[in-house]
Symmetry: C2
Subunit: 103 residues, 2 copies
DNA sequence: TAATTATGTAACCGTGAAGTTACGAATATA
DNA sequence: TATATTCGTAACTTCACGGTTACATAATTA
């Protein structure tokens, strides 16, 4: 596998986001997941490898099948990043609030 | 400018994330922002165009300078997307809770 | 045992994102 | 007015991402 992408690069791909979305509904193995996409099964397999490496999913091997389920790990960094900007605006709002009160 | 990238693709680039981060500290025009990066000023200019098109920043023209400030718009889609997965895990937790209570 | 199914991976290719340099235009300053 | 500053854009190059096909392998099933 190529060098691992960071969490932001991983979710930049619409197909991978679609896969994550599908996995909120039910569990899929690689082939059944691939049935939902135009692309070939090996292409889906690659995406799954990337999602797993970045901690967005975990894989359970059962016989020859590989079942995918969502994992929170990958999302943590994203949420943390967004929170930083939420803080920025909250601070801005409270500054505004202070100004208005002392007017 | 080329076709606009979606919010996820926009933040996939580490340099653009760095720019957004810098803009939580203070305001920059293109040149002063470019001083913080190895890349050329035109490269930074392109990134700024992309960030603006996707609603992550707004630009105020003052004379020959262009001042950049953060805009919430671009973040909304991201937060909404993340929320969907938060809901997924919360639901999973409450299901587990229900099971435990009726045991 | 033979055939089928589920999968990973190697080798390859096309394309677009991200960078560069070179320019011109507009604004500010000496 | 001449010079310096700020900026956008066109033209070009590079390279890695996302796709393909063609295999091999392991696990089922007939």
């Amino acid at each position: 596998m190529r060098q691992t992408l960071d969490a932001f690069q991983v979710i930049a791909d619409p197909s991978r986001r679609q896969m994550l979305h599908l996995l909120t509904k039910e569990t899929y193995n690689i082939s059944s997941l691939a049935d939902n996409f135009e692309m070939s099964r090996p292409a889906v397999s690659k995406h799954i490898g990337i999602l797993e490496a970045a901690g967005f999913i975990t894989i359970k091997d059962v016989g020859r099948e590989r079942f995918c389920t969502l994992s929170q790990d990958g999302f943590i960094g994203l949420r943390k990043w967004l929170t930083h900007f939420d803080d920025f605006w909250n601070k801005k709002l409270s500054n505004l609030d202070t100004i208005l009160k002392h007017k």
